[in-house]
Amino acid sequence: MGEEGEFRLEREPYYRPLHGEVELFEAAWRNRVPVLLKGPTGCGKTRFVEYMAWRLGRPLVTVSCHDDLTAADLAGRYLVSAGETVWVDGPMTRAVRLGAILYLDEIVEARKDTTVVIHPLADDRRALLLEKRGEVLHAPPEFMLAISYNPGYQSVLKELKQSTRQRFVAIDFDYPAPEAEAAIVARESGTDAATAQALVRLAQLTRNLKGNGLDEGASTRLLVHAGKLIAQGVAPRAACEGAIALALSDEREMLAALDELVSSVF
């Protein structure tokens, strides 16, 4: 099936297992239970799902949720073409038909009514109701739903409803332990081990500031960005300022403090 091909991962994505999450995900997949990935931004949730899709040999359909994402965007809609109305599957319908892993990234960003359409898919019915077509689509055994969610957001509108979250097996993600994180940064950015370690140290310093002026500390992803710049020959301090400090804050005082932390580490 040609369509399936476009959702297949061709190469093994790099992922370093941390604490049994791979086994948990596999067990959930075998038992057809959907999974909720919790954790701060940029700690490897998306990469994990990619890795699992590759490992389980399933196609992966990823949807990055945003606040204008409607139920129709996910399920599908009629389009008009050459005087005919033609039904076009949305990513969710397509994933169900393919028996893929459907990954809804940052689910809380989507409109509240949208999260409700995943409910029948996420419990033991495992069905998708296509209201407009009057069709009920039953998910094949290989299909799996995974959603991600960052509990650290300070917005009352970005909380996951109990009725949604209680359908999932949750896997908690956090930044990896320092040695593991340094290995990941070195491997992903191509920088040397010493620089990677320094970057991880810097990240820990910024994570100490969470709740003290920063909403989040530097994520592994930001470290990889900084590492890539450094590997390209950008001076470490400039790289950290651009890839980490300015990405974390706009406030002058905070930027000055971050700059002092950067210059302490390098």
């Binding site: 809609r77 650290g152 300070q154 009352v156 140290r201 310093l205 100490n208 403090a257």
Partner: protein
């Protein structure tokens, strides 16, 4: 509150004629009448001022009003000196001169403040030197964040004559002007802060008091040896910081320090090595005078440490007890010091923090803090008898964390109206923040929710039948098929109510109260543009029988003159018994029909009350409980605090994701509305 712009803004007013001596005297008497008498009048000052420009007169009157809130005496003295100060320093400089004196007044009282004010020449001198000198106040924010980043235990920063630390507060000099460049002077501040942080982090005070010398010369040398040891300790993890310290370690210590240096570079060197090295130094050894070195005061640091250990132990016992309760006994791993210390036990953040703090002080966890907390003795304060009036008050439960259950109907709460204040206050705030208000209104208008069905869209949830019929007809008539045939629903409406709770406790007196009121004015203006339903209440109280909640704006009241006057009338009253106020206001908020209910509290620090042991942990736990109750009732609480001191207890009290600290009070007015926007966007 830099406001040189304000006086130039008032420039059209400069065309206004200067005030006469009589009018000036009348106004001054209004402001500082309290310190005037028949022998000491404002006549002389008024006479002198009457010859000045209207702009200068306005400046003096305005700042005299501000100063008089703290001290009429200081305000009176200011009036006499102001014309000369403005002449020498300009408006902005004179403002700084006065603010420095008010600051001193808050810290050290009238005597020092008045002396500071009078010593204009010294201030002018410093202002010149200030071109490169760096003040504590200018770097405190950055350094506090910097030190928080280095982490370990949270440290407070405070100004003092010398740089030193007691292990909880890092004291830094009020001013550093050693080098002829601001950057260099800042480096000195940073190096001092980092060194003092390292002293607390790497156990400079880990030994018994008797182990430390007490002769000044020996302490000086020990400070140097510790600096050598700590710098070496930082070299691996923080090489940049190490280089900064090295660069400032001039002149290099003499050859007699060679062996000590070698010894203290060893990876596992402790303060005991520094003391051993101290004993081996020849009597002739002199510590070089490094600018960042500061002083070592083991006696005070150790006293503070003992206090802290006792406090931490008790808190840890209580925290472990709560943890046991939450998880049930069977779910809990066996509690031993080793698993807690290694972090193997997945402990709550509060436990982790206390364990970390104790480990830092003691190196290990003492067994006695793992034992369950005993019920602490009930303090049986004699209560005043109930009065008739008490029977009409509302009654609220209060959470007693030591007993682990509620005290029934413990707090008596009354609703009152705020007495109207001066409408001119709001008018002045509107004038002063005009540009910010305009900007806030624009950004809030953009948030305004609209629930519209857009027809004739190229895509959408449903087919637009009208458009389809029309299109088919056109097609049949030989036209082109229009593709815009769908109905799309645009953004759902904001269905949100918010209740703002303002701290009216005594500790908000002065600046904080002014900023709170300004913040409310800006907030109301912005919210009117947005259209969310909102209410504002204040709270204060004195003992459990006098919890008071003040109505500023009810939900069903429009934002009009009455509300504005009440905002102006918000004053600093008594204490902060937060729990009862939160419970009462949650109840009011829960009655409002809306999908999202937001309870925002604005306070300046810990919950506190005059008696019943509400101060400290009890109050924190009760407030936390009240917030949890609110959350259960479907309310989203969010707390804004202006407490820049110890934010240790904040995550526990408020819940990690639902509070924020506004460090700079002056920024509160704009921050409050911004925060609301971010919270609800």
């Amino acid at each position: 509150m830099s406001s040189s712009a304000r006086y130039s803004e008032a420039a059209p007013g400069a065309a206004e004629p200067p005030l006469g001596a009589a009018e000036l005297e009348r106004r001054l008497e209004e402001l500082v009448g309290a310190v005037l008498s028949s022998r000491r009048t404002a006549a002389g000052i008024s006479q002198a001022l009457s010859a000045s420009s209207r702009e200068l007169q306005d400046f003096v009157l305005q700042w005299a009003a501000v100063t008089a809130k703290s001290s009429p005496e200081l305000a009176f003295q200011f009036c006499g000196l102001a014309p000369r100060a403005v002449g020498e320093l300009g408006y902005a400089g004179a403002e700084r001169w006065l603010l420095a004196a008010i600051d001193l007044y808050d810290r050290e009282g009238l005597h020092r403040a008045a002396a500071e004010l009078k010593d204009l020449a010294a201030f002018v001198e410093r202002a010149r030197e200030g071109a490169w000198g760096v003040e504590f106040g200018a770097v405190a924010g950055v350094l506090e964040t910097f030190v928080a980043g280095l982490a370990g235990r949270r440290l407070k920063l405070a100004p003092a004559e010398l740089a030193w630390t007691d292990g909880a507060t890092v004291y830094l000099p009020r001013r550093v002007a050693l080098f002829a460049s601001r950057a260099q002077n800042f480096r000195v501040y940073k190096a001092s802060a980092a060194l003092l942080w390292a002293q607390t982090r790497f156990g400079s005070f880990a030994l018994a008091p008797a182990d430390y010398p007490d002769a000044p010369r020996e302490l000086e040398l020990l400070a140097l040896l510790e600096a050598l040891r700590l710098a070496a300790r930082l070299e691996h993890d923080l090489p940049g910081l190490y280089r900064d310290l090295e660069a400032l370690s001039q002149p290099a210590p003499g050859a007699e320090f060679g062996p000590a240096r070698e010894r203290l570079r060893a990876p596992g060197a402790t303060v005991a090595d520094s003391l051993a090295a101290l004993r081996e130094l020849p009597a002739s050894a002199r510590a070089p005078d490094w600018p960042f070195l500061g002083a070592l005061d083991p006696a005070r640091a150790l006293a503070a440490r003992d206090e802290r250990i006792a406090r931490d132990k008790q808190a840890l016992r209580a925290a472990l007890e709560r943890w046991r309760e939450e998880r049930g006994d069977e779910g809990l791993p066996p509690l031993d010091g080793a698993s807690l210390a290694s972090g193997a036990a997945a402990a709550p953040g509060e436990v982790k923090r206390l364990v970390e703090s104790l480990l830092q002080d003691l190196g290990e966890l003492p067994e006695d803090c793992l034992a369950p907390a005993r019920e602490s003795a009930e303090q049986a304060a004699a209560e005043p008898p109930e009065t008739e009036d008490d029977a009409h008050a509302l009654r609220y439960d209060e959470w007693d964390h030591r007993r682990g259950h509620y005290r029934k109907d413990w707090c008596l709460l009354r609703e009152r109206d705020v007495n109207p204040g001066d409408p001119a206050f709001v008018a002045a705030a509107l004038e002063r923040y005009r540009p910010q208000i305009r900007q806030l209104k624009r950004s809030f208008e953009a948030l305004r929710g609209e629930d519209r069905r857009l027809r004739g869209e190229p895509c959408g949830e449903d087919v637009d039948l009208d458009a389809l019929v029309r299109a088919r007809a056109e097609l049949a008539a030989g036209g082109e098929l229009d593709e815009r045939l769908f109905v799309r629903r645009a953004r759902h409406a904001r269905d949100m109510v918010a209740l703002f709770v303002v701290d009216m406790s005594g500790s908000t007196k002065g600046w904080i109260n002014d900023c709170e009121r300004h913040a409310l004015v800006l907030l109301c203006e912005a919210l009117e543009a947005l259209g969310d339903r909102y209410a504002i209440y204040g709270f204060s109280g004195l003992t459990r029988k006098r919890c008071e909640v003040y109505r500023v704006k009810r939900f069903d009241e429009p934002y009009g003159a009455a509300v504005r006057e009440r905002i102006a009338g918000i004053q600093a009253l008594d204490y902060t018994r937060m729990g009862a106020a939160i419970r009462h206001l949650s109840r009011i908020l829960a009655r409002e029909p809306a999908r999202t209910r937001l309870l925002l509290t604005l306070s300046d620090g810990k919950p506190d009350d005059f008696s019943d042991g509400y101060r400290g942990e009890y109050g924190i736990e009760d407030t936390r409980r009240a917030l949890i109750e609110a959350r259960r009732a479907g309310i989203h609480p969010f707390c804004i605090t202006i407490d820049r001191e110890a934010s240790d207890y904040l995550p526990h009290m408020y819940g990690a994701a639902s509070y924020t600290v506004v460090a700079d009070v002056a920024r509160l007015p704009t921050r409050l509305a911004e925060l609301y926007r971010r919270l609800t966007a």
